[in-house]
């Protein structure tokens, strides 16, 4: 991984719903709404001065999140920035509202084989598709925050470092040869 990321970009998804759909709307429902919101998010990310960027997508002002919209806003956004032809290097964290959103988020992530770092009110969690090894490594990194390159091998072993690098490839953690590994939540607080 190259340069350190830019400072956290917080995106109020509820406000975007109002801007992109209608001022009084707070529900994230229907595919066209989801598509419009995702495109608005991409514009904001594109405006950040340098890559990679770390964005916190904040759904806390969204009342209803249906599956079609979750697929458009969350899954398709992640898929786009994981592809080889992605517009730029970008990492995402999500803040959502408990079980109201959890179900939709988990379902769409699982359907695409994706995972995401999400705070549902009780701290950051890894939601979606991940192996047991990935979850263990992610939790250890989340607990520690940052782990330098020397400590990485000592703590995780060679195989574990590969898992951490895999998490970075999936955009679920930060990894740099010289910097070591960093949890996205830590990166969000102290880029």
């Amino acid at each position: 991984m190259g340069e350190s990321p830019t400072p956290l970009l917080t995106i109020d998804v509820g406000a975007i719903v109002g801007d992109a759909v209608a001022p009084a709307r707070r529900d994230l429902v229907t595919r066209p709404t989801g598509r419009a919101v995702r495109e608005a998010i991409e514009v904001r990310i594109a405006r950040t001065t340098r890559a990679p960027s770390v964005s916190l997508l904040d759904f806390s002002q969204v009342r209803i999140l249906d599956f079609s919209c979750a697929d458009e806003v969350i899954a398709k956004l992640l898929v786009r920035y994981l592809r080889r032809d992605r517009p730029r290097e970008a990492f995402f964290l999500f803040r959502a509202v408990g079980d109201n959103h959890r179900h939709a988020v988990e379902e769409v992530l699982g359907r695409h084989g994706l995972a995401a770092v999400c705070n549902l009110g009780g701290g950051y969690e890894l939601l979606g598709s991940a192996t047991g090894e990935e979850r263990t490594a992610w939790r250890a990194l989340e607990h520690k925050g940052r782990i330098g390159p020397g400590e990485l091998a000592a703590r995780f072993g060679e195989d574990g470092v590969l898992v951490i690098r895999g998490l970075a490839d999936r955009r679920l953690a930060w990894y740099g040869r010289t910097d070591g590994a960093c949890a996205l939540s830590t990166l969000a607080r102290n880029p």
Partner: protein, 293 residues
């Protein structure tokens, strides 16, 4: 004049009788005689509207004789039936103004044509569903979110797949005699292309000779197939099935000549009914029972 007799009671259990009469090829003018009607649920109301539209395709707007009982016409009024029927039936039904936001109605008959309509449905139902779901059905307060998502997904089915407008309506009832519990009934209906035509171009070839109404409906209902190649598509019905199943409810979809259903223990309806009278579009019925225990 062809007269279609509406029985005293018209709900999801006996709608086939109307489908059989309404789908006939006879192009003579149609009268829907609902004078004896005493009880009707959202499925019955949307069926009358759909059957009226089918009858109108012959070139002559059908007529409807409204129920003789005032409490029934009053209920139809509160459910927005007269307003919805105004553009379909020749006289009578459409002469009254729609009452606004009747307090005892979960969701009046609402046309669904665009995504904006779906937003309106979700907006409207949130204001009323909370109290009904928590007091009548004894669901947790948060159930209004899942309920809204069900309505959103089921309405999007019309916008995304039917290629024609439709309606949605919902109401809560006390089924004391029938089930000993309260229920919420959601009905969704359109006269669009139906599941078979919607899926045909993308999926018919792989099913070969087996392709038909039943295969198409099973492909959508059980496998989550849609006409879109996108991996994220097809979740709507699957997620509705899961949530309705968690609440031990009924979910049935009628399309073409087939009805497919997820049925709980308290229902005796079969999971698949084939060989029904062909009727255009799709009709979805969801029944959510009061929580027990």
């Amino acid at each position: 004049m062809r007269v279609i007799e509406i029985p005293r009671s018209l709900d999801y259990r006996n709608v086939e009788h109307i489908y059989e009469q309404a789908a006939g090829d006879d192009s003579s003018p149609v009268l829907f005689d609902a004078r004896r009607l005493r009880w009707i649920d959202p499925n019955g109301m949307l069926l009358l509207l759909a059957a009226g539209q089918v009858a109108a395709r012959s070139g002559t707007a059908p007529r409807i004789s409204l129920p003789a009982r005032q409490e029934v016409t009053g209920y139809l009024e509160r459910m927005g039936f007269h307003h919805a029927a105004a553009g379909i039936f020749r006289s009578g039904a459409g002469t009254r103004r729609r009452s606004r936001s009747a307090s005892d109605v979960l969701l009046e008959i609402t046309p669904v044509t665009t995504n904006s309509d779906v937003h309106d449905v979700v907006d409207r139902v949130q204001a009323r569903a909370g109290a009904i779901l928590s007091t009548a059905l004894r669901y947790p307060r948060s159930a209004v979110v899942q309920f809204s998502v069900i309505l959103s997904e089921v309405c999007q089915n019309i916008v995304e797949h039917a290629e024609a407008p439709g309606w949605v309506a919902a109401q809560a009832y006390n089924w004391q005699k029938r089930l000993g519990r309260h229920v919420a009934v959601i009905a969704v209906s359109d006269l669009g292309c139906g599941f078979r035509a919607s899926l045909e171009a993308e999926h018919a070839a792989r099913f070969g000779d087996r392709w038909g109404d039943a295969t198409a409906l099973e492909a959508a209902f059980l496998l989550g197939l849609t006409r879109f190649a996108d991996t994220g598509r097809g979740q709507g019905i699957q997620q509705i099935r899961k949530q309705v199943g968690r609440w031990q409810g009924i979910l049935s979809i009628r399309s073409g000549t087939v009805r497919i259903a997820d049925t709980p223990d308290w229902s005796s309806r079969p999971p698949l009914e084939e060989g029904l009278t062909h009727f255009p579009g799709s009709q979805i019925n969801i029944i959510l029972p009061e929580r027990t225990g």
